[in-house]
Amino acid sequence: MTRPFRPTSPFRAATAAVMAALIVTLAAMPVAAHGPDPILGSSLWPQDQSVVYRWRSGAEPPAALKTAIRDAADDSNATRASRAAIYTYGASGTSLVGYGTGTCGVNGIGCFTRSAPDSFTMWLREHGRVFDWGTLRWCQMMTNPANGCYDAETIALDEFGHVEGLNHHLNYADDRDYTDAVVQTYSRTRPSAGFDMHRYGVCDIATLQIRYDIPKASSPYSRCLDLVTILTLGVNDSAIPYGAAVTFKSVLKVASDADYGRLAGNGVSSRTVRLQRRAIGATSWVTIATLAQTTSAGTYSATMGLTDTADFRAVFTASSSEGLVGDTSPIVRVTVAPCSPAQCPLPIIGV
């Protein structure tokens, strides 16, 4: 329905002026966007659960789309970087993947339902279907894919992401972060950037990690996260005889924060944790060792003999390649007793 043109009344002109001013005000507001995908649904799959799917009887996808959907399941398994569910095809699967008219709403090209931890359904609409917005073309169904076609593997990966519990990524208004997530509010067509994403984006992975945890203590955290870490430092003895060995133990953990989900309190292994020393009365710190990873998650240690009382601290410098914030431990002072005559270094005698 189109509204006919109406002459502008004084009230409407004033209102328009107010709203025009509002444009300026709103435009000045920073845009809150970008971050881990919002979560979808309250139920989760058990960690690393194998979820078996099969083709819906009477609505099996054509061979080319079966391949694309299987590939998308493999993409999800290979790039989830978390302990999210694993999709496998099996003739006895309880989750159904269909193709055809389905129930994807008026304009949908793909859709899903999820009933974690039991099953899910997925649909892809039929190639060649004419919508109000145009004709659906799956690139995989075309001998020579034309511009404007949709990549079925990407769309299926998007649906698999929903099934895991991901909602649509909140992009910046200009979509410059589009490729940070495959679970998007609208899918791009060939040849636009991101139309054929065959792996989860960093912000998809961030939410998968929050909801399902990372695979191992040494696994990287998604760059879409910004997790505060807590670094501690302790010694086995803070007052030692001259020259005695002391063992420094440092623990690096993700901070405990409700927003961090399953990542909260995780020990963080296989990172670089440096031990720094500051002489009594000095102001500068000097790195004296890199603490070695122990067998305990997030725990690092080093043992060394000391001959001077000094302050020590551990330092974790975060890498830009993952979503952890660096931290420095509280200071630990180790007091070293004076040397006995037999232990003391010989004075340097001038010539």
């Binding site: 329905m1 189109t2 509204r3 006919p4 043109f5 109406r6 502008t8 409407r12 328009a16 107010v18 709203m19 025009a20 001013a21 509002l22 444009i23 005000t25 709103l26 435009a27 507001m29 845009v31 809150a32 971050g35 881990p36 919002p38 979808l40 309250s42 139920s43 129930t103 709403g105 304009n107 949908g108 090209i109 793909g110 859709c111 899903f112 339902t113 999820r114 009933s115 109000d132 917005w133 769309i155 998007d158 929903h162 909602n167 649509h168 992009n171 208004a173 200009d174 979509d175 998007q184 509010t185 609208y186 791009r188 067509t189 636009s192 961030a206 910004d226 924060d257 927003d259 961090y260």
Partner: protein
């Protein structure tokens, strides 16, 4: 916080604008508010959706209207609703003519709480949202000004209260 939180600020010089805005329809209020005709806000903790939605479960239909104009139904794009959802292309939108700067209001076909909304626009016939500009965002019933004269695709993204779901609504704006 996991997200990098961006705090909003309102210039003191825009107080009159905001007062006028609130007088019009309470736009850009930071907290979820009750939809028209609802006595109480829908509490986030109690607004539940069925665990296994039936095919008829989907977001409400939306209409867009300028002051004094006929409401125009949106094209419903991508949405999630409860434990289900559908992914749609970038849509051209339902056509509506409005005046530059006019306040545009969105209504839904059933009472429902709005957690937050954004309104963005791109030139008509764009194939996606690249380069979109914002017309507004906030909580409560969506209200925002029409953009400059021209032909535009307007997409309004709504997250409903109580984690009921979210939806994108498209209109083709002819702004005179």
């Amino acid at each position: 916080m996991v997200h990098r939180v961006v705090r909003r600020s309102v210039r003191t010089g825009s107080v009159r604008v905001m007062v006028a805005c609130l007088a019009l329809a309470g736009c850009a209020t930071p907290a979820p508010t009750a939809p028209p005709g609802t006595a109480e806000p829908i509490p986030a903790a109690t607004a539940r959706v069925p665990a296994t939605p039936s095919p008829s479960d989907r977001p409400p239909d939306a209409t867009l209207a300028a002051e004094g104009g006929d409401p125009v139904a949106a094209q419903l794009g991508t949405y999630t609703w409860g434990e289900s959802g559908a992914d749609s292309p970038w849509l051209p939108g339902s056509r509506i003519s409005v005046g530059r700067g006019e306040p545009l209001a969105i209504a839904f076909d059933r009472p429902i709480g709005i957690a937050r909304w954004t309104a963005d626009y791109v030139p008509a016939f764009a194939t996606d949202g690249s380069g979109a500009a914002s017309l507004g965002r906030g909580g409560g019933p969506p209200l925002f000004p029409a953009p400059a004269a021209g032909s535009w695709t307007l997409v309004v993204t709504v997250r409903f209260a109580g984690d009921a779901g979210e939806a994108r609504y498209f209109w083709r704006l002819e702004v005179f």
